[in-house]
Amino acid sequence: MRGIPRPHPRPETRKRLVRLLIGLVFVLLLIYPWLYSNYLTTVLTQWLPDTSTAFVILAFTVMGLGLNFVVGYAGLLDLGYVAFFAAGAYVAGWLASEQFANAGSVIFGGTVLPGTPGIHLSPWLVLLIAAVFAALLGALIGIPTLRLRGDYLAIVTLGFGEIIPQFVRNGDSLGGFNLTNGAFGMNGIDGLGFGVAVHHTIHQLPENFLNELDSRWFYWTALALVVVTIVTSLLLRDSRIGRAWIAIREDEDAAAAMGVPLMRTKTLSYTIGAFFGGAAGCLITLQAGSTSPDAFSLQVSIFVLCMVILGGIGNVWGVTLGGLLLAYVNYKGLFAAGHTFNSTFGTNIDIPEYSYLIYGVAIVLFMLIRPEGLIPSARRRAELHEEEEEENVIPEASTA
């Protein structure tokens, strides 16, 4: 890893092994759609997600990694992360559907046929705009709320996480203007794709990714976003900004006394977290083709927070693993487990129905057995096992 060398340098060989493993996993993920459709036996297929489900798993992993900027690095407990998911989703609705049919037909690289009413920008552009919009919203929410600390901040962010869906639900008549289509949400949102024009020039690049075969493209887009998020995390962690975040997490007052501008630095972490939350929300919506206020429940915020905690707060690889694992369990694993359970015991229990019970028990067990997460950051390990290690520290009487 470049930048700051690890405090207890691991043997070079181990480092190389880890790198090799990460590379291997990445290649496997890259060719997964192909493996899934060509080589997997039915037994495995039952347990492995299809490409569309794998897409959702990756997109949620991006959410986990995004929240890690806020919770993991800067130590700000955000219980309303779903707000940014919602922001991204609605930008997709606004800029790539027939929501604003009154505006006539504005098609700029969109994936729809000419003449379709409404605004249809290129979905790539929509993705970027969604991320930036969510980031701005993050800054806007962050500036007043991040003055609060600890539990107070958690409560206020929880509030914002609830306010946004409410606003969306009631936003069908803002002074007579239908912004959000209310409780019905938005439907008929365009798929991600290269657009009509590109498709007609290069036929290998699909116009949109919505048909079964082209769902691979969705998957790859999400995978690319995961990589971008991981790289951003790593680069920022080993920089002046990353150090300031961790310093704030460690001791806010001391950080301020050392010249770290608290508000600016905290807002930046919140903004970057929101950026990726918005991107993920937009991407998921472009695939689903619709969105509604019901999709933005507190459970989503908690779910994403669990990824960060499960994986190992502050550790990029841990959070990636936590995200993949938890999203897998939620979108595939539980169904598969339920199916296997029922066919084995001849029962008819709807296991996914009990997901929150299962998660609750799992979280409690996890906190008891391995509170530092699956792959904790070395820092975090240092914190949680402080007592044990302190016994080994022999006070010195060396001179100043």
Binding site: R240, I241, I246, A254, A256, A257, E383, S398
Partner: protein, 260 residues
């Protein structure tokens, strides 16, 4: 007051609810001097420090630092103007290495931002390299052993933690160094070495040093000027000899009257 005052505080007052922690204190520190602030526990010394660094805003009064009124400025701006501090109870960033702690101290001296860090521009890389080298030098200067550089601060010995904290404060490139009970918990040998160190820092780096100190030996030995607070009020000021001879100080501080 003195024409060359680095710090010039006038009628500084701090109230917490009904409690007057600092009552209309006039206080100056001359540029290039080593000064001490002493007084019994609860006399308002740390409160005064916190007002100097901007952690607290005075209820009334003004504080001029280096020709600028700093009342109401946020902490990071005051740090950038040139006030660095250590804390009474060591407050290092425990889960950061010694070197990272010092690098955080350099925050306001470094400039790379979001895009520089993401793009790893030549400027950013150069700055990081320079910063790391400087941090290493500072740690060595403060007597932190080289092997401690990459250890997490919370795993360091008590003495090393104190030294890293001083290095971190120096990393802010201060004009005024505030040390809040720096010798607390040090043995006599370490204390003697520290007194030497404070002088050296002042002479070599052209700093002004203000200490809060309980150890009267240290105070008498190192300071050129001593200010005594008691119950939030300034009760004496002068050279160490003058102050230790002062009747009010003797009764308030040196323990001739029952401990409050």
């Amino acid at each position: 007051m003195s024409a060359d005052a680095l710090v010039d505080a006038r009628s500084v007052r701090k109230e917490f609810g009904g409690l007057v922690a600092c009552s209309d204190i006039d206080f100056t520190v001359e540029r290039g001097s080593i000064a001490s602030l002493i007084g019994p526990n609860g006399a308002g010394k740390t409160t005064f420090f916190n007002m100097l660094t901007g952690a607290y805003t005075p209820t009334a009064g003004e504080i001029v630092f280096d020709g600028r009124d700093i009342v109401g400025l946020p902490q990071h701006k005051i740090t950038a103007l040139g006030i660095g501090r250590t804390f009474q109870n060591i407050r290092l960033f425990g889960a950061m290495t010694a070197r990272e702690n010092v690098l955080v101290g350099m925050h306001s001296r470094l400039s790379s931002g979001l895009f520089g860090s993401l793009l790893r521009t030549p400027r950013q890389r150069h700055e990081e390299r320079e910063g790391r080298a400087q941090a290493r030098d500072l740690l060595a200067y403060c007597g932190v052993p080289a092997r401690a550089e990459h250890q997490y601060a919370r795993h360091l010995s008590y003495g090393d933690q104190r030294r890293v904290e001083v290095a971190r404060a120096l990393a802010t490139d201060p004009k005024l160094l505030l040390l809040d009970e720096p010798t607390a918990g040090m043995n006599p040998r370490e204390t003697t070495a520290f007194v030497e160190f404070v002088r050296r820092v002042r002479d070599e780096r052209g700093l002004t040093v203000l200490l809060i100190e309980h150890d009267m030996r240290v105070v008498v030995e190192v300071s050129e000027r001593v200010t005594v607070l008691d119950y939030g009020e300034k009760i004496a000021e002068g050279t160490p000899d003058e102050v230790t001879a002062d009747e009010r100080v003797r009764s308030a501080y040196l323990g001739t009257k029952p401990v409050a």
